[in-house]
């Protein structure tokens, strides 16, 4: 984008361009970037597929190929790697389940083995989850495990009470949550903790007014949201902050029009895709979270996204899971 274009505010969401952008990602194999992101190819498929589905274009990726690819990332122990031949990890196991639920193809994999793998990641003493056998602990992993098992309807496989206790140890004096007990509040960690608590019916443990205020404090004068005080705004926080606010039933505390403008301005009108902020390079991660943000704000032309699972809402309904949040969409903006 040239600097004159940067200041020009696109007035609409260019869905066709974004669909083409996501479709093009898999054909860029002579870019170094493609090879260096090999370890997170599976997450890339999830980000792209969910974005396409929200834009009513889930068929833009071949279902059979997607499912075949996901299956090829599963290991004998039940876990999935970020790509074929990469070690199993809880994050990618979660992404695999999300993709399979979108494609309604859970029967393509051994679900019991997935449950076994995810349950084995819990430290039964502390309730925390490790990402893999190497022991890194993070509330991101708590969320991945809980969301994943909930989507498989197998929360019985873990100690939910202990898992909840660990998450609550990560609650901070400002109402937010961090990655480990004592770690600074961060919007992405807050999404993980609030989402996990919503799934296990423990939202009453959140100080919703205090946390809601912290979250809406993330909005800056230009309309964008940051993830921590005094940090730069970034389109991905349109998801992390808004999803948590939606779950807490306080999404209207954000100035909706200003945020929509900010996200729309981060679109690249030449290549398609959405960037972290206006004028930067686009990527599929920010494209998804720009779209999910717009969906939570009731933007027309997009399917509704579920703020707890980060899946199109109809998928969560098809799985048969209850709505575990207080959000009001679109029309509920009063």
């Amino acid at each position: 984008m040239t600097s004159t274009e940067k200041t020009e505010r696109p007035s609409e969401l260019f869905i066709d361009l974004h669909v083409k952008y996501i479709q093009s990602l898999d054909t860029k194999k002579d870019d170094l970037e493609y090879w260096l992101t090999e370890h997170l190819r599976l997450s890339g498929v999830y980000w792209g597929l969910t974005a396409l589905d929200l834009m009513n274009n889930v068929d833009a990726l071949n279902k059979e190929e997607v499912v075949k690819y996901v299956v090829s990332c599963q290991h004998d122990n039940g876990g999935f790697g970020g790509h074929i031949g990469h070690d199993p990890h809880l994050l990618y196991t979660h992404y695999a389940v999300l993709i399979l639920q979108i494609e309604d193809s859970l029967d393509a994999v051994n679900v019991e083995k997935i449950v076994e793998y995810v349950a084995s990641r819990q430290d039964r003493q502390t309730g925390a989850f490790t990402g893999d056998e190497w022991g890194e602990i993070d509330t991101r992993f708590s969320y991945s495990a809980i969301s994943c098992l909930s989507l498989l309807k197998r929360l019985d496989a873990i100690d939910v009470k202990k898992a909840t206790e660990f998450i609550m140890l990560c609650k901070n004096f400002d109402g937010g949550f961090g990655s480990t007990p004592g770690a600074e509040s961060h919007a992405a960690q807050i999404f993980c903790c609030v989402g996990a608590l919503a799934i296990v019916n423990s939202l009453h443990l959140v100080d919703a007014d205090l946390l809601g205020w912290w979250l809406c404090e993330r909005q800056l004068k230009n309309g964008g949201l940051n993830g921590r005080p005094e940090k730069l705004e970034d389109v991905c926080y349109s998801w992390w902050v808004l999803s948590a606010l939606s779950i807490l039933g306080r999404v209207h505390w954000i100035n909706k029009e200003k945020l929509i403008d900010f996200i729309l301005t981060a679109q690249d009108l030449e290549t398609g895709g959405i960037a972290d902020r206006p004028g930067d390079m686009v990527d599929v991660f920010h494209t998804l979270f720009g779209l999910t943000g717009l969906s939570l704000l009731g933007y027309p032309g997009l399917k509704l996204v579920d703020p707890v699972y980060c899946l199109p809402k109809y998928v969560v309904q098809r799985v048969g899971l209850a709505e575990r949040y207080h959000a009001k969409y679109g029309g509920g903006f009063t």
Binding site: D26, T27, K29, D30, D31, L32, W35, L36, E38, H39, L40, E65, K68, Y69, S72, G81, G82, I84, G85, H86, D87, H89, D132, W134, G135, E136, N172, F173, D174, G178, S179, T180, P181, G182, A183, E184, S185, H186, G212, W213, W214, C216, E217, Q219, K221, R228, P229, E230, K231, H252, W253, I254, N255, K258
Partner: protein, 300 residues
């Protein structure tokens, strides 16, 4: 020694299996692609050797987020009984280039746990925080070191140094709270009172910055003090013509507390302050202040 100097004649590189996609693949960087071919072959037979170790180094230099490589490297390091202090140097160099890489920080934790020696860690994290005082990984790692090796004593003075440099550093304020309240030695009431005074002094330097406000409120919640202790500060700022939404918001908290105890006057003051915030001083959060006004108005 570069990985290319080792003898690889017995290894058949395994090419990238890119799944069912039939498109031809051309890797941009032939060296990376070659190294990955050898890695797949060695990993398959789980070879722990010097050449495998050198190979992991090459791949990490290209792509430090490749988490499978780190696991493989750890296994090799431990089974060959390598000098782990050399590994700490290697990590330091890598962190300089990739300070926000999850794998690197966790790798350091694994190595330090194995060494049972934290003598280099405080200065290491300090160095990283000097470059980026809000690096989440560095802070979380530093907390792990403090907790694991019981290094609570000097943390407050470290935080103090950072806050003097940048009073708006939310990470440093969080660390201050950590150093006091996660410390196994519990703070005295007197200490907490001093801490509130400290926070007030800092607020006066940057009344529009949210971090010390949140911090002071957090300390008050842990002490026997009440939020009224900030009333004078809020009013003085206002009288001096310094309009801080945080100060006004704090007054709303104070008025709401008193309204709940029956003060009709303070209930009205609270409502007026909310209106001021919603319509003049924090318009972007108008809906939030309207909500607070509504809460106040419904106090019987």
């Amino acid at each position: 020694m570069s990985f290319e100097n080792y003898d690889w004649s017995d290894v058949v590189p395994i090419e990238q299996d890119d799944g069912p996609d039939p498109l031809a693949q051309i890797a941009y960087d032939p060296e990376y692609s070659k190294a990955m071919g050898y890695f797949r072959a060695l990993a398959q037979k789980n070879e722990h050797s010097e050449r495998a170790l050198t190979l992991t180094e090459k791949i990490i230099e290209h792509n430090p987020a490749h988490y499978t490589i780190w696991h493989y490297r750890q296994q090799i390091l431990f089974s060959l009984n390598k000098d782990l202090y050399e590994e700490l140097d290697f990590i330091r160099n890598q962190v300089e280039q990739n300070p926000k890489n999850y794998q690197l920080w966790h790798h350091r934790q694994v190595i330090v746990e194995k060494l049972k020696d934290c003598s280099l860690e405080s200065s290491f994290t300090e160095e990283v925080l000097n470059d980026d005082s809000k690096n989440y990984h560095a802070w979380t790692y530093r907390q792990w070191v403090i907790r694991t090796f019981n290094l609570w004593d000097n943390e407050l003075s470290f935080v103090e140094k950072l806050l003097e440099k940048d009073i708006r550093n939310n990470s440093a304020w969080n660390q201050r709270y950590f150093a006091i309240f996660y410390n196994p030695t519990k703070p005295s009431e007197e200490f907490l009172e001093q801490e509130v005074q400290y926070g007030i002094t800092k607020i006066k330097l940057a009344p529009n910055n949210i971090s010390p406000w949140n911090y002071v409120k957090g300390v008050i919640a842990k002490s026997k003090l009440k939020i009224d202790v900030l009333e004078e500060l809020c009013k003085t700022l206002y009288q001096q013509g310094i309009i801080s939404p945080h100060a006004l918001g704090c007054l709303v908290d104070i008025y709401e507390d008193r309204a709940k105890c029956g003060s009709i006057n303070e209930k009205e003051l609270g409502i007026q302050t909310c209106i001021l915030l919603a319509e003049q001083h924090d318009t972007i959060r108008q809906k939030y202040w309207n909500y607070r006004k509504h809460v106040l108005a419904s106090i019987a």
